[in-house]
């Protein structure tokens, strides 16, 4: 069965079930104890009457039973009142209360010790409580039997009244408890309603951010939502900056292009060069914009860098089939990165294509993971780069607004992407004498603040 959609209803129902079960058990227990108490009180009074009857009983000189003083109470005098006594001598002679009239009680068989209490039908079929015992009367040879019977009607009326009172009390208590729970839940969910209203205001634009003083359980939610809002705002801000940068970067080549085309003899070569520069700029900014938006907008899924490297390698092998370059991919298959797979493909594609471009025979790709950093190495056996050339290749494109994309654009894009993901691209000499590019990416890429 599906739980109801409303939290308040859900909590109210659960509390109601628990309260009902708990109160049911408690009322059963309490009622049991109270009823036993009532019965015990009646029985105690009963035994008192029996003792009085025993005390009043004696034998006269002839050995006949004489009940000198009948037990107090008009009930024993009124016929069939429900209160009776009866004394049976050892020789079978019987003395009874007036109320018993011509009837007799059925005594228990003799021989039991102490007082015997039991329920028995009376002379008119009414339910009686009977107390009886054997008594050794002074001067008698054998014990006499004394019995006092009282109607159960009064006891039962008392028990019924008690039951009704207890049941009513527990019902009132239960309703009160459930009501209290429902009220608590409704009051407890009030902060959620407040957050919802605040979010609606943020969406409507009348509020900057939530900034609510929420209870400690909800405070993390509020601060996460505020962080998300701030992240989105930063993304928009970045996009605006980026568009500005792009427009500025495009202005120079456009101006040159215009100059080249104006005047009597258009300089076609210069125009062509500027068109190429424009294209590179667009390419560069597109790559960066795509990534920045992705990084800011969402939590990236985990990807296996080794699998991505192998995919890129298989694509490159198709592309470079006839050049006979071996692309060897090896490393930690269990390594995982939280990076957009497209970005990782972009970085590895650029690095590995660059390596293939310069390699003589072999490109080595390695993947390793240590201390929360995934290290991806791409090395070739080509001519390599001198230290100052390596620096230049990395410097290019790092300052977005002043970048002039050149021939080393591939590496610059990788360096940009690595930086956006909180990582770094390093260049150095490879063991085979060529260039070794080392990409270090944190396992958990930087979030919206990157």
């Amino acid at each position: 069965m599906r739980p109801p959609r409303s939290l308040a209803l859900r909590l109210g129902l659960a509390a109601g079930l628990w309260v009902a079960a708990g109160l049911g058990a408690a009322s059963w227990f309490v009622t049991g104890i109270a009823l036993r108490q009532v019965e015990a009180a009646f029985d105690a009074r009963h035994e008192g009457l029996l003792d009085a009857a025993v005390a009043a009983t004696a034998l006269d000189a002839a050995g006949r039973i004489v009940v000198a003083r009948a037990p107090a109470g008009a009930d024993f005098e009124r016929p069939f009142s429900g209160a009776y006594w009866q004394v049976t001598a050892s020789d079978g002679a019987v003395a009874t209360s007036r109320s018993l009239w011509d009837q007799a009680l059925a005594p228990a068989s003799a021989g039991h010790a102490g007082v015997l209490l039991r329920d028995t039908p009376g002379p008119r079929g009414e339910r009686l409580r009977l107390a009886e015992r054997d008594v050794m009367l002074p001067g008698a040879a054998a014990p006499a039997h004394v019995a006092v019977a009282l109607s159960r009607g009064a006891t039962e009326a008392e028990i019924a009244r008690l039951r009704t009172v207890l049941l009513a009390a527990f019902a009132v208590l239960g309703i009160g408890l459930v009501g209290g729970v429902v009220a608590t839940v409704v009051a407890g969910l009030a902060p959620l309603r407040r957050i919802r209203r605040a979010l609606a205001e943020v969406r409507a634009g009348t509020r900057e951010r939530l900034a609510l003083d929420a209870p400690s359980e909800l405070a993390p939610l509020v601060s996460e939502v505020d962080a998300l809002i701030a992240g989105n705002r930063a993304t928009v801000e970045r996009a605006r900056t980026h568009v500005g940068n792009l427009a500025h970067a495009l202005k120079t080549p456009l101006a040159v292009l215009r100059n080249a085309l104006e005047g009597g003899a258009p300089d076609v070569a210069a125009a062509r060069a500027q068109a190429a520069a424009l294209e590179r700029l667009v390419h560069h900014h597109l790559a960066r914009a795509r990534t920045a938006a992705r990084v800011a907008a969402s939590a990236a899924p985990t990807v296996a860098p080794l699998a991505v490297a192998e995919e890129v390698a298989s694509a490159l092998r198709r592309l470079l089939g006839e050049r006979g370059i071996v692309i060897a991919v090896a490393g930690d298959a269990a390594a995982r990165l939280r990076v957009d797979p497209q970005d990782l493909t972009e970085m590895l594609g650029n690095l590995m294509e660059n390596a293939c471009k310069w390699a003589r025979r072999r490109v080595e790709v390695s993947v390793a993971m240590a201390d929360g950093v995934v290290v991806i190495g791409v090395g070739d056996d080509g001519p390599g780069l001198a230290a100052e050339q390596r620096e230049a290749a990395l410097r290019r494109g790092t300052r977005l607004d002043e970048a002039i994309p050149g021939t080393g654009l591939g590496l610059a894009i990788v360096a940009d992407l690595a930086e956006i993901h909180g990582g770094v691209l390093e260049l150095g000499p490879s063991a085979a004498g060529g260039l070794a590019a080392t990409l270090r990416l944190p396992v958990l890429a930087r979030g919206a603040d990157g």
Binding site: E279, H283, L286, A287, R290, E311, V312, S314, A315, L316, R318, L319, G321, E322, P341, Q342, T345, E346, L348, G349, N350
Partner: protein, 220 residues
């Protein structure tokens, strides 16, 4: 050489077909993925230019279906997006090369020529057969260093035979690879053309094998 161009952008497709025709190819055009898939599946193309963003059936799916059906002609994919993800996806779907839009037309033609050569196991654009030299990149033919003047159709016939030099090429195969899909094929035309080529290249160059076809050898 027949090339299939699968491109939905009409202007670009027109430029592609024109540039390929100028380079000595016969180009057929399909404007959507389904038509492109059908043509590539039924006609013997020497190369395909395949746009990835196509209506009705995307380029990568078209390519995967061809490869799954054993169609192994070289395919160059065109992508509007310059990301590596698309390149990798396209290449791993079975493409042999890729170009990112915008591209320069001579670059595309050179890539197609290279793909066709590669498919015939040749890495250099010049095919030398003794005194005869066929330059498939520059569409030039020389005999003893002297340029031979050929019509477009004659050049197409010679270059196809040159790529398959030493092998017997049937008349059916020749007509299939020399004319566009809707061309009225007539084997007499082919014989007339072979005759004209023989006059220009000398008798020994093109051998006729009765009932089998033609073979290009080094002229004596």
């Amino acid at each position: 050489m027949r090339v299939l161009v699968v491109e939905d952008h009409a202007a670009l497709a027109g430029q592609l077909v024109a540039a390929l025709a100028e380079a000595g190819f016969v180009a057929d055009h399909a404007a959507d993925g389904e038509e492109g898939h059908f043509l590539g599946d039924t006609e013997p193309y020497d190369a395909v230019v395949l746009d990835l963003g196509l209506p009705r059936l995307d380029g990568a799916s078209v390519l995967r279906r061809w490869r799954a059906a054993g169609r192994d002609m070289p395919v160059l994919i065109l992508t509007a997006r310059d990301g590596w993800s698309e390149k990798v996806a396209g290449l791993n779907a079975g493409a042999d090369d890729y170009l990112t839009k915008p591209f320069a037309m001579p670059e595309l033609v050179a890539r197609i020529q290279a793909l066709v050569r590669r498919a015939h196991g040749r890495s250099r654009p010049e095919i030398a057969l003794g005194r005869l030299l066929v330059d498939t990149a520059g569409q030039r033919v020389t005999l003893d260093g002297q340029a031979v003047r050929l019509t477009g159709l004659e050049y197409r016939l010679l270059s196809y035979l040159a790529l398959r030099a030493g092998q017997v090429v049937s008349k059916t195969e020749l007509t299939e690879h020399l004319y566009a899909q809707d061309f009225d094929r007539d084997s007499n035309t082919l014989e007339v053309m072979v005759g004209r080529l023989r006059r220009k290249l000398g008798d020994g160059a093109i051998e006729t094998l009765r009932g089998q076809g033609y073979r290009l050898v080094a002229p004596s």
